[in-house]
Amino acid sequence: MANQDSQSTPPKDKSAFGIFMHELARGSLIVPILAIITGLLLGGLIVAVTTDQVYTAWSRSPLEAIGVGINAALRSYSALFNGAIGNPERIADALASGEAAALRRAFNPFFESLIKSVPYIFAGLAVALGFRAGLFNIGAEGQLFMGAVASVYVGFAVKGLPAIIHLPLALGAGALGGAIWGFIPGWLKAKTGGHEVINTIMMNYIAFRLSEYLLRGPLQRPDTTNPISPFIETTAQLPRFFESPIRFHLGFFIALAAAYGVYWLLFKTRLGFELRTVGANPNAARYAGMNILVITVLAMSLSGALAGMAGANEVLGVNYTLAPAFSSGYGFDSIALALIGRSHPVGVVLAALLFGTLRNGALQMQIAANVPVDIISVMQALILAFIAAPAIIRTIYRLRAPQQQEDGLHVRGWGG
């Protein structure tokens, strides 16, 4: 009875962003944001304690050591910032000179971060869609590989088409490849009850080995012994908006469109209503006459298609070819990402931008500040741990527990 008035105000603005802001105001996004901040702070602490100079300074005076530690953390974060967004001095210089090439170089880090976010957005949407339907799609990585394989094949093997046909065809092939890889575990779940967690993990292995086999066989570039595919035709490339070195391509906007599409599907359509009902309460879905089997298969296929698009974008927008291990675990990171984004498309896009930025900046951090790239992984892990255990964040920041039950994960237990 204490909780009758507090969660009642409905969102006034029914747009995607309106709902997102409403959730933010209601407090369900405070935790992820605080988790990110806490993760960054702890990351700095780790940088400090892994810096050798801190220990040499310690022998002189603890105060100095703390100073050195803070310095090291600040230095690595500024390197991270420079690597991910751009070096403010260089940007200022470039703006002053007005020289096009200098400008492009100065702003390149920012665009690189956006490029890195693209596969995260797609794969994050894939996992989020699964979560909303009560499905734990661990197989985004495998679906991503199959999407990449399918689109690279269409990209290099089909010749003589105009870009207006070839590019959509290659993208569609990527989506289809992923969809098939999602359909199989979805169908197994619907027909036999086989748990999608197990089956998607197994499908991952099959996808990895299958793509390796293909790259050494039918998809191998003729003039080399390396396991790498031929370059795709220029007609299948996602157009870039700027000259070298900026690689920013159309895929980013396709990803944003996909996010809007997923939002629209989930919250505005019949199918989305069914999907969310099955995810939130399968018993009620059955009671309401929904066909749970069909919806499960459909949700897994759609999820796979989105993950496949992540692979297609890497191949068609960045690499123009396919090599083994081209994905640095986008599919796995996206599980975390969907959680941070509360399985909401807007949240997923924001979380993907964060992940892309961190990943891109990490490289610079290693070069400029001599901090290992792994620190970024540790930081991501910390952020995730805090989000997965909201009680920690609530305790640290003395937040009130939410009146309503946490429904953040949108996932049922392992009993499925």
Partner: protein
């Protein structure tokens, strides 16, 4: 002698709500004091304060005349206060002894559990108070009523003098409730004092020594069963006159709407739960299915609504065979289904009220056009239904989870009865609801009947069956043992049929060739074993529900 327990001007505020407003309450030694109030009146808050789960903003607590501070359940236990929660706090895979010991283990040789000593004490307690239980049984194997006894033993093991029972009969069959009342008397005879929280009027009048009624956080009055009656108590609880009787038009049944013939249905474990059942429900009548919970009612309703396949037999709805139809087809033919477990089947708790109001019609016009939901229309229609069905919700965008049980049920009733309906299947439609909501939902069911609808009412509340039904079918171990007209049915007669004691000529015929049964008047042995079987089923379902709660 001072009272065992005295609460003085207890006040508790939650943001925006005054949950307890200067509540005074005293409990004498050996007394059963009923705390009566609707859901959300503040009973549970008050008891949580007493048990140390909340701190009062104002007020004092005295035990045996001495003022005490209760900051935690441990303080409460040390002060001799024990509480049996509505949902039991037992570990299913532990034995009774292990559960009772948990948290106050007796040890020997510095660290080894002294199970034998504990078992011995449990035996003493159970024979002293008539709490029959085998200390070596696993809790998961025990019927709900016995699990509750284990909870009470836990309190006595910790030497509690003041026992708080929070809605203890909500999960019990009528027979189990009677057992509990006996136990409560034997506890008070031995000097224990009991606070009995409930919203069931009849129970209060049966068992309480004194009654305190709470409404909106305030004590509205104190009385005794001698001075009070049901309608007086109901009026105190709700704050207005409540009409507990049901008014309906004369019984003029029309054509057959639902015809069930030789229906056989299995339960989750593949056992026959509904065994060769035949009946009809006609337009303009209420057919009540009476029975102790777990005698096949759940499976019967699920088979009729397309949620569970029939093994044999047929179900006809008007002129169509729906034995193998899916839930959507059955809904579209004009069936309203008020499911037994509203939170499990009837609602998506995380969804707003508006979405729940179209949960099974969302795909039809005007709620969808093509593939797109018409959210403006859904919201508009939801507003209308919230008004016409008196659903108390801040808005149609509020999640169903934050409504009270009564209002959640009204959401379901609004959804099901605002379609053109020919058959209403209502399963335990008022379980756990407050008086006001019960009155309302009964009124709506009768309205459907008076307007020419056929109503199948499945309930384990005998009072409800007797009040609403035109004919009463009694189900026992998956069989309809008899169908009585309302005039012929007396509470005693139906009660005995429910317990499987009296069997009529028709029922005997039905059971022929299945299994030779002992004579009708049946020794008390068969009676208890039958009850045990029924209870066992119930336990397994209860266990499932708990698990489900944990999952979510």
């Amino acid at each position: 002698m001072p009272p065992v327990l005295e609460l003085k001007t207890i006040t508790k505020r939650f943001p925006g709500v005054l949950a307890n407003d200067r509540i005074d309450l005293s409990l004498e030694r050996g007394e059963i004091h009923a705390l009566l109030g609707e859901n959300g009146a503040g009973k549970t808050t008050l008891m949580n304060i007493l048990y140390g789960l909340y701190q009062p903003d104002e007020g004092e607590i005295f035990i045996n005349g001495r003022q005490v501070q209760i900051h935690s359940p441990t303080d409460a236990i040390n002060a001799g206060i024990g509480m049996v929660h509505q949902h039991f706090m037992l570990i299913p895979v532990f034995t009774v002894t292990e559960n009772v010991m948990l948290g106050s283990e007796s040890l020997k040789m510095g660290g080894i559990l002294d199970r034998r000593a504990a078992t011995e004490r449990i035996r003493q307690i159970s024979s002293a108070y008539g709490l029959e239980v085998d200390p070596d049984d696993y809790v998961r194997d025990l019927p709900v009523g016995v699990q509750q006894r284990v909870e009470i033993i836990k309190l006595l093991y910790r030497e509690a003098d003041i026992l708080i029972l929070d809605e203890p009969t909500a999960v019990l069959t009528p027979q189990e409730a009677d057992e509990l009342f006996k136990i409560m008397h034997s506890l008070t005879e031995r000097g224990k004092s009991i606070i009995f929280i409930t919203h069931k009027l009849r129970e209060v009048l049966d068992i309480a020594d004194r009654i305190t009624v709470i409404r909106r956080g305030k004590v509205v009055g104190s009385t005794t069963p001698k001075q009070a009656n049901q309608s007086k108590l109901a009026a105190m609880m709700v704050g207005r006159e409540v009409d507990l009787s049901v008014h309906k038009r004369a019984f003029t049944p029309g054509a057959d709407v639902l015809t069930v013939q030789n229906l056989k249905v299995g339960d989750d474990r593949g056992q026959i739960a509904v065994d060769d059942v035949s009946f009809t429900v006609r337009a303009g009548e209420v057919l009540g299915i009476a029975g102790v919970q777990g005698n096949g009612q759940t499976e019967l309703v699920e088979a009729l609504t397309g949620l569970r396949p029939a093994l044999d037999g047929s179900v006809r709805l008007l002129n169509e065979d729906v034995t193998r139809a899916n839930p959507r087809r059955i809904t579209e033919l004009g069936t309203a289904h008020i499911p037994e477990d509203r939170q499990r089947d009837g609602l998506v708790l995380s969804f707003p009220v508006a979405d729940n109001l179209v949960l099974n019609t969302y795909y039809q016009r005007p709620f969808s056009k093509g593939a797109v939901l018409q959210q403006a229309t859904i919201a508009k229609v939801a507003e209308e239904r919230v008004n016409s069905f008196d659903i108390r919700t801040p808005s149609v965008d509020t999640s169903a989870a934050s409504l009270s049980g009564g209002n959640q049920q009204k959401v379901i009733v609004a959804r099901e009865l605002s379609r053109p309906v020919k058959l209403v299947v209502a399963s335990q439609p008022t379980r756990g609801l407050d008086v006001g909501s019960i009155e309302y939902i009964h009124g709506r069911l009768i309205e459907s009947r008076d307007n020419g609808g056929a109503v199948l009412l499945v309930s384990s509340e005998l009072d409800e069956i007797m009040q609403l039904s035109d004919r009463i079918a009694v189900i026992y171990r998956g069989k309809i043992v008899d169908v009585l007209s309302a005039q012929d049915a007396s509470k005693e007669k139906v009660g005995l049929l429910m317990a499987g004691v009296v069997r009529t000529a028709t029922a005997k015929k039905a059971s022929l060739g299945v299994k030779p049964k002992p004579k009708a008047k049946a020794s008390s042995k068969t009676k208890t074993s039958a009850r045990k079987a029924a209870q066992k089923k119930k336990t397994s379902r209860a266990a499932k529900t708990t698990r489900r709660r944990k999952d979510s």
